[in-house]
């Protein structure tokens, strides 16, 4: 063990020297012809302290020196899990739901705004989860469907005055169609080729939105989209139905909460259906799935189209909520962000994705002052998750057991 630690420290030292050599030219050579060391050294020192602490803790943990802390903690954790398991599942679902419904009563505008964002991204994450988590196809152009949904509602509303609820199925439908158009030629490919082709398609959609001036007004975007409206019964002058635009934030919150619950239920039901099992079979081994009689091409296309539908729904809500759309909102970085939510939370795990979305939306809001470092942290988190916990924060439960897990 001691020998192994020595090797780790040696590698760590080499890595740090390497890091400094890489950092210094970026931070220490200046346009005016001067050379400084201070800034690079400071950044390097932060990294050194942070990584040193992590590595020391890790090594101490490995050598069982931290037992006096970890073993009581493990006991507490076990007790909490046992207590949580004692209450039925529906109790937890119900309490979370009650909390979500009552949330606007106890919060101010800003918190509601963040909550709406979280719910939009939960919809997107769950939609992408069908493609990446269940069917195992890496899709890097997912945001294109979000864009298609958003522009569908925006155009239908601006050109034909269609209301949100009527346009919502259209948004889902057009997103689904575009999913099929993109999916049909690409789904014959596997793994990494698919990733790069979907990335290309996502960019094509963005470029088209940016350049088709007559339809989309190009980079200036579309303004003046109406929010969703409802009819409500009024008893002021006898009985009549009054129309109300849901402009207030907490009304919009309930709309997206409804859409989000719809998405969660739909994805949950899909997950445990025959189709969901077929997707998992494709994810685990496509060739074997095909041999077992799964029509892989049709099911992959279905996964793609289903994912697109939820993206389209979220997009329609997005444009109704912002009352403005522009191609800027549908860049590759958004795709990467949704993907990192899915990866961070745990692929194919619904509570995991909700947690991942919470983490990636709420944490940057809390740490406003380090806003700049947000994407840097996303990228690092994605790599670190893959290195240390590839199954995500809350790993998905498998349906059934695999032969090698059964033992013997």
């Amino acid at each position: 063990m001691i020998l192994e630690s020595k090797k780790i420290w040696k590698n760590y030292a080499i890595g740090l020297v390497w890091l400094f050599v890489l950092l210094w030219p970026l931070l220490g050579i200046h346009d005016d012809g001067s050379l400084t060391v201070g800034r690079a050294f400071r950044v390097w020192l932060y990294v050194l302290v942070a990584t040193f602490l992590c590595l020391s803790l890790y090594l101490l943990h490995k050598n069982d020196i931290l037992k006096w802390v970890t073993s009581p903690m493990a006991k507490v954790r076990n007790r909490v899990t046992a207590a949580a398991g004692a209450l039925p599942n529906w109790f937890w679902v119900l309490s979370v739901l009650t909390g979500a419904v009552l949330f606007p009563l106890f919060s101010h505008r800003y918190a509601q705004d963040v909550a709406i964002n979280v719910l939009i991204y939960v919809c997107l994450g769950l939609g992408l989860n069908i493609v990446v988590g269940l069917a195992g196809m890496l899709d890097l152009g997912y945001i294109a469907f979000y864009g298609v949904g958003a522009y569908t509602y925006a155009l239908l509303n601006l050109q034909y005055g269609m209301s949100f609820w009527v346009a919502l199925p259209f948004a889902a439908f057009f997103a689904c169609i575009s999913g099929c158009i993109i999916g049909y030629p690409t789904l014959r490919m596997r793994g990494d080729y698919l990733a790069i082709v979907t990335l290309g398609f996502g960019e094509i959609v963005r470029i088209i939105l940016n350049n088709w001036m007559e339809l989309t007004n190009g980079p200036n975007g579309l303004l003046g989209i109406k929010p969703p409206g409802i009819y409500y019964p009024s008893f002021a002058h006898g009985f009549s139905l009054e129309f109300l635009y849901l402009k207030k934030l907490h009304y919009l919150y309930y709309v997206i909460l409804f859409l989000c619950i719809f998405t969660i239920v739909a994805v949950y039901r899909l997950n445990y259906s025959r189709i969901g099992r077929a997707w998992e079979a494709i994810r685990e081994d496509e060739t074997v799935a095909e041999l077992m009689g799964v029509n892989t091409f049709r099911l992959k296309l279905l996964a793609y189209a289903m994912g697109a539908i939820f993206g389209g729904i979220a997009g329609a809500f997005f444009s109704a909520r912002m009352r403005f759309v522009s191609p800027e909102s549908f860049s590759f970085l958004e795709s990467a962000m949704v993907l990192s939510m899915v990866v961070l939370g745990g692929m194919a795990s619904i509570p995991g994705i909700i947690l991942g979305t919470f983490a990636l939306i709420v944490l940057p809001e809390v740490f406003r002052e380090v806003e700049l470092y947000r994407m840097l942290a996303f990228g690092a988190a994605m790599t670190l998750m893959m290195l240390f916990r590839p199954e995500g924060l809350i790993p998905a439960k498998r349906v059934g057991t695999r032969s090698e897990e059964r033992g013997g």
Binding site: L26, H30, D31, R190, Y193, G200, I207, F332, G379, P390
Partner: protein
């Protein structure tokens, strides 16, 4: 006709740059079957290192006294820097995942790409950074056609690098070891080739070429931006696929074709949609001819 010739010259220049970037993709893919998403960022980092070094030299006045020496020195230093960066990225983000599922390596690469891009943004600023050099201004004029010195320089450097790489891969012992590792990692390690070292070297070589491309793009367009690696990265990947992924000669040819298509597409069809042409080629090639122009048969795990 003049327009056509002018576009041809521009196309060759751009194609050479794409070829340089595509080589990194194709070599890495050939050896560990990974789309190195961070490769575009090595290209961007090269552009930035070039601007940093040249600005430093220009501030001391060396650019006016020894312009070509400065340019050559900056190019070499930039290539070394990016090679070091690529080796570090490989050690941290890819090596521990060598036996993990392909999806996790791909996601790790994507994470690295986002990390590096934002690292560049944070250290160098959000705005375009101009190249200091007035080097290579002017050129030859043949009637309506201009052939700038810079274009000649870019093509010359590209050719030198490509010939050098070819010699390295096909004539030396190291190149032989690289090809052996690409063909069969287990067998090559049995005959005493250190595959970890070879993989590191491959990353370093690819990133060095991309860095050279970054410096030349910076010189050609006059400025660099932190997100400049993204679109050329995809286009270069399209070039690698077009030429047959894993095939070095194919990547050079593919890069040239993609560059030509982009320039002619922008000239004759539509300038606004110039980025779309490369993607359409990529999709068409993958659909109709997944092995590319010069690729061998590939098994079903790749496509």
């Amino acid at each position: 006709m003049e327009f056509f010739l002018q576009q041809l010259i521009n196309g060759i220049t751009l194609g050479g740059i794409y070829a340089l970037i595509a080589l990194g993709y194709t070599m890495v893919y050939g050896i560990i079957q990974l789309i190195n998403f961070a490769h575009g960022e090595f290209f961007a980092a090269g552009g930035y290192m070039g601007v940093i070094l040249l600005s430093y030299l220009a501030a001391h006045g060396y650019m006016t006294t020894h312009p070509w020496l400065c340019l050559g020195g900056a190019l070499v230093l930039t290539m070394i820097y990016c090679a070091g960066l690529a080796m570090a990225v490989e050690k941290v983000a890819y090596k521990p995942l060598r036996y993990a599922s392909r999806l996790s390596v791909l996601l790790s690469a994507l994470g690295m790409s986002i990390f590096l891009q934002n690292g560049l943004m944070l250290t160098q600023g959000v705005y375009d950074k101009p190249y200091p050099s007035s080097l290579g201004q002017g050129g030859f004029e043949f009637g309506m056609i201009t052939l700038s010195y810079l274009q000649i320089l870019i093509v010359a450097v590209t050719v030198i690098l490509l010939v050098g790489l070819n010699a390295l891969v096909f004539k030396t012992r190291i190149g032989k070891a690289m090809r052996a590792t690409a063909q069969d990692k287990v067998m090559s390690s049995l005959v005493g080739i250190n595959s970890n070292k070879i993989i590191s070297l491959t990353f370093a070589l690819g990133a060095g070429l991309a860095a050279a491309a970054g410096v030349m793009v910076g010189l050609y367009y006059g400025s660099v931006r932190y997100d400049m690696g993204f679109i050329p990265g995809i286009k270069a990947f399209a070039a690698a696929v077009l030429g047959g992924i894993g095939n070095i000669t194919g990547a050079m040819l593919g890069g040239l074709i993609i560059g030509m298509v982009e320039i002619f597409g922008a000239g004759y069809i539509s300038g606004q949609y110039k980025d779309v042409f490369a993607f359409i080629i990529l999709i068409a090639v993958l659909y109709f001819m997944p092995t590319g122009i010069m690729g061998e048969n590939i098994d079903d795990t790749r496509v």
